[in-house]
C-alpha cells in the first residue's frame, strides 16, 4: 500500500500518451496486489515498476487522473475524481478520470476484491495533496508571497486579504513540464468539502443519454460481427462441421482457425443466422455430475483440506459441550449474469492491435491478446472504458482474444458480442460448495466449532466469535488450483468470493445454537463476541430494526446475520413472510448496518449496499445454475431468475461512523450476510431450517412438509 521504491523512470513515463506534453505530473504507486511488492505483481509486462497511476494538471487547468482500474458501475470514476477535487481544491467537474486503458494508464492488476477504495483512493488523495503543495510553492515564488499567506479555491491561488494577487493552476503550469513523485505530504485531516458528501456521478450524463460507449458499441468502418460455433456441453468435441450452407450466403464469411469456426457479417443478426446453418456433429461430453449430484462429487474430488483456523483442543470442546449440533450446508453454482454480455471490438492498424473489451482486468487481456497474436504487449492496447457490470465475472475476456484473432485473419475490425446463452455457458460461476459444521454450546457459550469447507474457498471461514476449541479446514475454492474435474466448468470470483457461502453456513448455525441454548439470537451473538466493531454493527442494526428479543421460531419472520469481509463489518436484519403452501418467501424489509471505515461518498456507499441487498436476494432465494454432463441448462433469464422490481423490499442502510479506520471497499461486504439472515428469518417464520441455497419455493415447501 505504501508508495515505496519510487524511482524516477523518465523514459517509461514518456511512454504513456497522456503523460506527454506540458503540465504538472505526479506519479504514484498504490500497491494493488494485496501486500505484494509492485515489482512482483503477477503478469506485469514491461513498463514502469515505480508507479501505477498518475495525475496531470494541464495548462487548461483541468485535472486528470490516469488509473488502470475500471469503472464497472461501482462509481470508481467519481470517487477518484472526488479525491482529487478535495485535495486540490478544485471543482469536481474540472476533474476527469481516465481509466481502464492500457496505453494511457500504468499497469494495474484488475478491478476486483474491493480494492479501489482502500488502496488506490488514499494514494490518489496523497498525489492530489502533493500537487497542491507543489503549485502553492510555485505560486509563492510567482506572486512573491510566502506560502503560508496563500489560499486556494477552485484552482485559483490568491494572497490572503489581497485577492487580486492571484494565479491559476493552469497559468502556473503553462509551458512547463514539472514531474514529481509522491513525497510525504499530509492529506487534509478535516474541513472536507468533498469527502463525506454525496457526489454526482461523473458517468451519469453519458449513461442517461445512451452516449456511454460499451465495448460492443463501437462502430468502425468495414467492421464485421462474428458469431462463433460453440459446443453444446463442456467437454464435447467437434466431430465434423459442414459450413457449406453458411458459406453460400452472400456477404457472409466463414473462418476456420485453430479449432475456432466463426461466421462473420457486417450485421450481427445475419452472422448469427448464418451460424445456425452450420451442421455440426459433436462427440458427447463424458458423463459428469449434475446439479443434484454435485455436492457428493465435490466432496469426493476435493483436494487435501488445509487448516485455516485452529485453537484449543476439539476433544476438550466436545467434553465441555452441553449439546452438540451438526449440519451440512450447501450452496449452488451461481452465475454473474451482467446485463451486458462479454463483448469486444478489435482493430489492427499498422501493426497496432486495439481491443475494446468489457473486462475488469484490461492488462490481463492485453497479455492474452499479445500471446494469441504473437506480438509484444506494447503492440496491444486494451480499452475498458464503460463495462456493463462485472461482479467478478469479467476478469478474463476470451471474447477479446477471439475478436483480435478474427481481426487479424479477416484484415477488418471485428466485433464479438456473446449471446446470453454463451454468457451462461462460459461464465466462471461461483463454485458450488459444501460446508459441514459441528458445534457445541454450554451455558450460552460456544465451546466447540469444527467446520469443513469444500469448494467455496477459505475467506471468512474462520469464525470471528470467541471459541476456545475450534478447527476450520478448507478444500478447493474459487481461485483455481482445484483438481481437474472437481468442477465441471470454470469457476471464479463472484462478488465477495467464498464469503457468501461461509457466512451462510456459519450464521445459520449460530442461530441454531442460540435456539438450542434457548437464547435470543442477538444476545447469543453478543455473548460470544468481543470484536467491538461487529458488536457495534449488530447493536446498530438491532436498534434500527427494532429487534425484539425472543426465541425462534417466533412466527414474526425476523432474522439476522453478521459478517466481516475485507475488514468491513456487516449486520443484516430482515423481515419475511413465508407462504407455507407454496414455499414462496416475500422479503418485506432489510436493515443493514455497515462499518466501512471512513466513508468517502455516502451515497455511493449506499448505492453499493442497495445493489448488494438486491443481488443477495437472488443468490439466497432463486439463483442456481442447472447442468448435466457438462451441458449448462440455464441459457437465459426465463429459467435463471434474477431479482426484479416486485422482489424489492424496504431497504434501510445505516453507515456506522468509523473515521479512524481508513476507507474500505464497499462493493462486496454488504452482500455477505443476506443468505443466512433470510434463512434465519424463514426459520423464525415457519420453524423450518433450509440448509441449501438458494431457498427456492420448492425447497422451502419441502422443508415445511418434512417438519
Amino acid at each position: 500500500m505504501a508508495e515505496s521504491a519510487i524511482v524516477p523512470g523518465e523514459m517509461k513515463r514518456r511512454d504513456f500518451f497522456g503523460a506527454a506534453g506540458a503540465g504538472l505530473f505526479v506519479f504514484f504507486g498504490a500497491d494493488l496486489a494485496e501486500g505484494q511488492e509492485p515489482g512482483r505483481l503477477p503478469g506485469r509486462q514491461s513498463g514502469p515498476t515505480d508507479f501505477n497511476a498518475y495525475l496531470k494538471i494541464g495548462a487548461d487547468g483541468r485535472v486528470t487522473c490516469f488509473a488502470g482500474k475500471v469503472e464497472l458501475g461501482q462509481g470508481a470514476m467519481t470517487e477518484l475524481a472526488g479525491a482529487l477535487a478535495e485535495e486540490l481544491d478544485v471543482a469536481l467537474d474540472t476533474v476527469d478520470a481516465v481509466m481502464g486503458d492500457t496505453d494511457l494508464c500504468p499497469y494495474d492488476m484488475g478491478t476486483f476484491g474491493s480494492m479501489c477504495t482502500p488502496l488506490l483512493w488514499p494514494a490518489v488523495r496523497r498525489a492530489g495533496a502533493e500537487a497542491r503543495a507543489v503549485l502553492v510553492q510555485m505560486a509563492s515564488e510567482r506572486l512573491q508571497v510566502p506560502a503560508s499567506q496563500l489560499q486556494v479555491q477552485a484552482g485559483i491561488i490568491r494572497e490572503s486579504g489581497k485577492p487580486s494577487n492571484a494565479v491559476t493552476y493552469g497559468q502556473l503550469v503553462e509551458g512547463k513540464r514539472i514531474e514529481r513523485h509522491l513525497a510525504d505530504v499530509p492529506v487534509k485531516a478535516a474541513g472536507f468539502k468533498v469527502i463525506g458528501t454525496s457526489l454526482r456521478r461523473k458517468d451519469g450524463p453519458d449513461k442517461v443519454t445512451g452516449k456511454a460507449q460499451y465495448a460492443g458499441d463501437l462502430l468502425l468502418p468495414g467492421m464485421l460481427h462474428a458469431a462463433i460455433l460453440r459446443p453444446p456441453a463442456h467437454g464435447a468435441t467437434l466431430k465434423s462441421a459442414d459450413t457449406s450452407a453458411a458459406e453460400k450466403l452472400s456477404g457472409v464469411r466463414v473462418v476456420k482457425d485453430g479449432g475456432m469456426i466463426a461466421v462473420l457479417d457486417e450485421r450481427p443478426d445475419i452472422a448469427v443466422a448464418a451460424l445456425g446453418k452450420i451442421k455440426a456433429e459433436w462427440e458427447n461430453a463424458p458423463a459428469g455430475p449434475d446439479d443434484k449430484t454435485i455436492f457428493d462429487h465435490i466432496q469426493k474430488t476435493a483436494p487435501q483440506p488445509r487448516v485455516v483456523g485452529q485453537s484449543g483442543d476439539l476433544a476438550e470442546g466436545e467434553r465441555l459441550a452441553a449439546s452438540v449440533i451438526e449440519e451440512t450446508y450447501l450452496n449452488s453454482y451461481v452465475a454473474h449474469a451482467p446485463i451486458e454480455t462479454h463483448s469486444a471490438t478489435a482493430q489492427i492498424e499498422d501493426g497496432k492491435v486495439t481491443v475494446w473489451a468489457s473486462s475488469q482486468a484490461p492488462f490481463q487481456v492485453q497479455r492474452a491478446v499479445a500471446a494469441a497474436l504473437g506480438v509484444p504487449a506494447e503492440k496491444v492496447r486494451i480499452i475498458s472504458r464503460y463495462v456493463g457490470g462485472g461482479f467478478g465475472g469479467k476478469t478474463e475476456a476470451d471474447q477479446g482474444v477471439e475478436a483480435a484473432r478474427l481481426a487479424k485473419i479477416t484484415g477488418k475490425p471485428v466485433q464479438v458480442v456473446y449471446s446470453r446463452q454463451e454468457e451462461f455457458f462460459y461464465d466462471r460461476f461461483r463454485p458450488a460448495a459444501v460446508m459441514k459444521i459441528r458445534a457445541g454450546v454450554a451455558g450460552g457459550k460456544i465451546v466447540l466449532w469444527e467446520n469443513q469447507v469444500f469448494g467455496a474457498g477459505d475467506r471468512e471461514a474462520n469464525p470471528f466469535y470467541d471459541i476456545p476449541h475450534k478447527r476450520v479446514t478448507s478444500a478447493g475454492g474459487w481461485m483455481g488450483g482445484n483438481p481437474a474435474g472437481m468442477n465441471p466448468f470454470a469457476v471464479g470470483a463472484w462478488r465477495a468470493p467464498s464469503v457468501n457461502s461461509n457466512t451462510f453456513a456459519r450464521e445459520s448455525h449460530i442461530d441454531t445454537l442460540a435456539m438450542k441454548a434457548g437464547i435470543d439470537p442477538l444476545e447469543f451473538r453478543l455473548n460470544n463476541l468481543t470484536n467491538e466493531r461487529v458488536r457495534r454493527v449488530l447493536e446498530t442494526a438491532a436498534k434500527r430494526f427494532g429487534w425484539k428479543a425472543g426465541h425462534a421460531p417466533s412466527g414474526r419472520g425476523a432474522g439476522m446475520a453478521c459478517g466481516m469481509y475485507s475488514n468491513a463489518c456487516n449486520a443484516t436484519m430482515v423481515e419475511v413472510v413465508v407462504n407455507r403452501g407454496t414455499g414462496a418467501v416475500e422479503v418485506k424489509r432489510v436493515v443493514m448496518a455497515l462499518d466501512e471505515g471512513l466513508v468517502v461518498n455516502p451515497d455511493g456507499m449506499r448505492q453499493q449496499a442497495e445493489g448488494c441487498v438486491i443481488m443477495g436476494l437472488g443468490y439466497s432465494l432463486a439463483e442456481e445454475v442447472r447442468f448435466r454432463n457438462g451441458e449448462v441448462l440455464d441459457t437465459n433469464f426465463d429459467s435463471y431468475r434474477i431479482p426484479r422490481f416486485s422482489w424489492v423490499p424496504k431497504i434501510e442502510i445505516v453507515l456506522v461512523e468509523n473515521p479512524e479506520m481508513p476507507a474500505l471497499g464497499g462493493g462486496e461486504p454488504p452482500i455477505i450476510a443476506m443468505g443466512a439472515a433470510l434463512a434465519n428469518a424463514i426459520f423464525d417464520a415457519v420453524g423450518v431450517r433450509v440448509v441449501q441455497l438458494p431457498m427456492t419455493p420448492e425447497r422451502v415447501k419441502a422443508a415445511v412438509a418434512k417438519a
Binding site: 454526482r200 445512451g210 460481427h225 451486458e340 441487498v613
Partner: protein, 157 residues
Amino acid sequence: MERTISFTLNGKAAHVKADDERMLLWVLRSDLGLTGTKFGCGEALCGACTVIVGNDAVRSCATPLKAVAGKRVITIEGIGQHGLHAIQQAFLEHCAFQCGYCTPGMILSAYALLLKTPHPTREQIARHMEDNLCRCGSHVRILDAIEEAARAAKAGA
C-alpha cells in the same frame, strides 16, 4: 423479404432497405448506428433493448422491422434532444444507475408508462417495470426517479 421500410425515427423520416423480418434492435444498432439501445438477452426477457413504437414500450430484439412500418419509433437518442428529459434528469438526480447498461431501456419503459399514466402510483411503476432487469440492483432508485419525473411533469403541467 428485402424491401424498404419507412418510419419516423426520433422525429425524423427513416428509410431502411433490409430484410423486413430482421429484428429492429439490430437494424437500429448496426444499420442505423444508434447504439444507445442495448442487447441483453435477445429473447424479450431483459428489457435492455426497449424502445418506443407508437406509444408503447416494445422489446426491439423481438420486434421485426416490418412491424414499425409507418410508425413512430423513439430510442434513447431521441428523447431529451433539447436538454435532458425529466426522466433522464431524475435518473441523474437519484443516481438511478450503476453500470448504466440497463438504463436506456429503463428510461424508455418509464417514458411509455408516463405517456399513458402520467401520475402512476409506486406500485403501478413497479408493475410496469417488472420485466426490465437490472443486475446492479438500482431498483429502488429507479422507482424513486420515475416517481419524481412524474411529479415534475405534474408540476410543469
